[in-house]
C-alpha cells in the first residue's frame, strides 16, 4: 500500500513539472496565431481537457463492459472513479470553450452541434454519478451504472463527429487525415499538453481509486464490527 502511494506521489511530482513546462510552451514557446491573436492559446489546454474527458468516458465504457462480464468490484471502482474525473474535465471544456468563444465569435454560447452534444455528454455523466449515489445496494448500483456507462458512451463519437455531420460555428479539427493545420511549434505544444493531461488523468484516477478502495475497507470493517 505504502509502495503504491510512493509511486502515486512520484507521478504527482512528474505531472506537476510537466504542467509547468506545458504552461511555458503555451505562453512562450508557441507562436501567436495570426487571425485570433493570443486568445488562440486557449486551444492547447482546451483540447487537452476535451481529450481527457473522452479518455475518461472511454475507460468508463471498457470498465463497465468488464464489470458486466466478470462481476468483479475492481472494474466498477475504476469506472466510478473515471466517470467523476471525466465530468470534471467536461466541466472545464464547457467553461474554457465560452471563454474562447466570447472574444472570437462575440458570443458566450451558441447551440452549435459540437457545443450542444458536449453539454449533453456532461448531463449524461452527471446523471451517471447521481444514479450511483441514488441506487441502494452495491451490486445493483454497479450493474445499473455499468449499463448506463455503456449506453452513455454513444454520445462520445457523436461529439467527435458533430463538426463533420452538422455545419456549425465550432472550428474543424486541426489534425486530419489530409494534413496538419498547425505550425511545428504549435503542434509540439499541443502534443506535449495532451501527453501532460493524459498523465494527469492517470494520476487523478489512481488517487480516486485509492479513495474508493479505502471506502470499501471502511465498509467491510464496519460490517465486521456489527457482526462481532
Amino acid at each position: 500500500m505504502r509502495e503504491r502511494g510512493s509511486w502515486r506521489l512520484a507521478l504527482g511530482w512528474l505531472v506537476s513539472l510537466a504542467v509547468v513546462v506545458s504552461l511555458y510552451m503555451v505562453f512562450v514557446y508557441a507562436p501567436t496565431e495570426r487571425t485570433m491573436g493570443d486568445i488562440q492559446r486557449m486551444f492547447y489546454w482546451h483540447v487537452a481537457t476535451a481529450w481527457n474527458a473522452f479518455l475518461a468516458f472511454f475507460v468508463v465504457f471498457v470498465m463497465s463492459l468488464l464489470y458486466l462480464f466478470t462481476g468483479s468490484r475492481r472494474w466498477d471502482i475504476v469506472a466510478a472513479s473515471s466517470a467523476e474525473i471525466g465530468v470534471m474535465f467536461t466541466t472545464l471544456v464547457l467553461i474554457t470553450g465560452p471563454l474562447w468563444a466570447r472574444p472570437v465569435w462575440g458570443i458566450w454560447w451558441t447551440w452549435d452541434a459540437r457545443l450542444t452534444t458536449t453539454l449533453i455528454l456532461w448531463f449524461i455523466y452527471v446523471a451517471y454519478l447521481v444514479l450511483r449515489a441514488a441506487v441502494e445496494g452495491r451490486e445493483q448500483q454497479a450493474r445499473f451504472a455499468a449499463v448506463f456507462g455503456i449506453i452513455g458512451f454513444v454520445d462520445v463519437p457523436i461529439v467527435y463527429m458533430s463538426i463533420h455531420w452538422w455545419r456549425g460555428q465550432h472550428p474543424e479539427a486541426v489534425i486530419t487525415t489530409s494534413g496538419i493545420n498547425l505550425s511545428p511549434e504549435m503542434l509540439v505544444t499541443l502534443i506535449f499538453s495532451v501527453l501532460t493531461f493524459t498523465a494527469l488523468y492517470a494520476y487523478l484516477l489512481l488517487q480516486r481509486i485509492a479513495v474508493e478502495r479505502l471506502a470499501d475497507e471502511v465498509g467491510k470493517l464496519k460490517e465486521r464490527a456489527r457482526n462481532a
Binding site: G12, L23, V26, G37, D38, I39, R41, M42, W45, H46, T49, M88, T91, L92, I95, T96, L99, W100, R102, P103, L200, L204, Q207, R208, A210, V211, L214, A215, E217, V218, L221, K222, R224, A225, A228
Partner: protein, 47 residues
Amino acid sequence: MDGNLIYLFVGYSLIWVALLVYNQSLVRRQLKLEREVEALKRVSRPQ
C-alpha cells in the same frame, strides 16, 4: 499580447484552481478514510 488576455488568464486560472481543489479533495478524503480504517482496526483488535 492583445486585449483578450483577460479571457485567457481566467481560462487557465480556472483549470489550475479546479485541478488543485479536486486533487486536494481527494487527498483529504484519503486521509479521513485512512484515519477511519485505523480507528476501526483499533476497536476490533482483541484486548
